[in-house]
Amino acid sequence: MDERVFIEPVPTAETQAFWTAAGEGRFLVRRCGACGKAHWYPREHCPFCASGDTEWTEGSGDGTIYSFSIMRRAKPPYVMAYVTLAEGPTMMTNIVECDPETLRIGDPVRVTYVLTSEGKALPMFTPKGKVSP
């Protein structure tokens, strides 16, 4: 099977801390200090109340599958997904280390990291335990 090649993420001044933490195995979630709500993707100003009082918080790394699609035409195939984080928001990611045929929307998943060719850690998710179809 061909090895998968990822488009490299391009961190910015706004997001560098996230990617640095991911490289250390920590999953950060951006939360607003004014309205208290977590959002995705992370940004400086809260997308709900527009406050600039947002901060990085340690995410649980837990979530559930919101939806997914097995990209069969790609070589190698991969599982594109949205995962709803325990903190609230839904993020785009992949489901890895799994049997794609057994995945179901609503399955609990946990964050893991997959390295790009440049060594950046992409936050992806893997099923928690074995979920029967």
């Binding site: 090649v5 995705w40 939806s67 699609s69 035409r73 928001p89 992949n94």
Partner: protein, 391 residues
Amino acid sequence: MATARPASAYIVGAYEHPTRHAPDRSLAQLQADVALGALADAGLSKDDVDGFFCGPDAPGTGPLSIADYLNLDLRHVDTTNTSGSSYLIHVSHAAQAIAAGKCSVALITLAGRPRSEGRGKGGLVRRDDPNQPDFQWEQPFGIQVLNVYGMTAMRHMHLYGTTSEQLAWIKVAASHHAQHNPHAFSRDVVTVEDVVASPMVSDPLRRLDCCVITDGGGALIVARPEIARSLKRPLVKVIGSGERPQHQQGGYFEITRSGAAWSGRAAFEQAGVTPADIKYVSLYDSFTITVLIQLEDLGFCAKGEGGRFVAEGNLISGVGRLPFNTDGGGLCNNHPGNRGGMTKVIEAVRQVRGEAHPAVQVPNCDLALANGIGGQLGVRHASATLILERG
């Protein structure tokens, strides 16, 4: 709505390029072909045009290169880009500009050569800009048009029990219409069994759930009422329009609900009609699921009922209760430049004029709706709705 008011403009010219593969024509030539084709259809000349509307498919900086190439004498331009729905928004904005006295005859063009240029088949390389704030959160994960529509269909199935066979009926209906279109990219009539037997490309979407990739284009002319009435063509009035960008809303979103819920409501309120009044619909059909979600969000059926609504040929002209995409749509006929909005408006104009192919013409089609979904359902898109009336 206190602010709602019928737009005082008519679509007086419509032209769809007959080509589906144009290796020997330049993009500028195709732009000229469709512009002059629509003007000829209207009975106008290029010197009557004082407003020009185009998308980024027009090469060069906004409208400037093609305006130069065609030697247009302009006093109004608009290059709104919401991808495939741009051209429906251009009709709406042209009607507004005409009502405001900013132009009298608006030309709207689309042309593209993705088949000749080998684009539109996916792959790793994207032209997205790393400065896009979403780039680093989406591109590394392998986002493709196919898999975000796949996720949308998967979730609709999960929430509402929609089946692959129900989605297949949408392609079946389009194919029944395309058999009568001599220019259609594919004129093969297919069955539900054919669709579900085609290869899975991104679950649950199969190859025949996807639109065609074609070269070509189209153009429209929108004009003031006095000009429209001076011409010899059947009158097609723009009586309602709406537009709605829809996105991820900070991470709290429902991908099975499209912007059509908003753009449709705005258009119906402005027009003063309801879904039950509509005789024909042009619905954006990048994928079968795109059609199903628009039917629900525009109010032709309840949310979650789309699968049952489209089954058993309900979208086939002369058979079902709501004929759609009687040219064969993007699923069979044409999706020029990977942007399907232009052809949606053109077939709606043909239906309202009574000039669709006799085998698919809806009797007494005095009220039609066209809807576009540009960008990607399931990530970021803009829905645009037009309601057209005869007379």
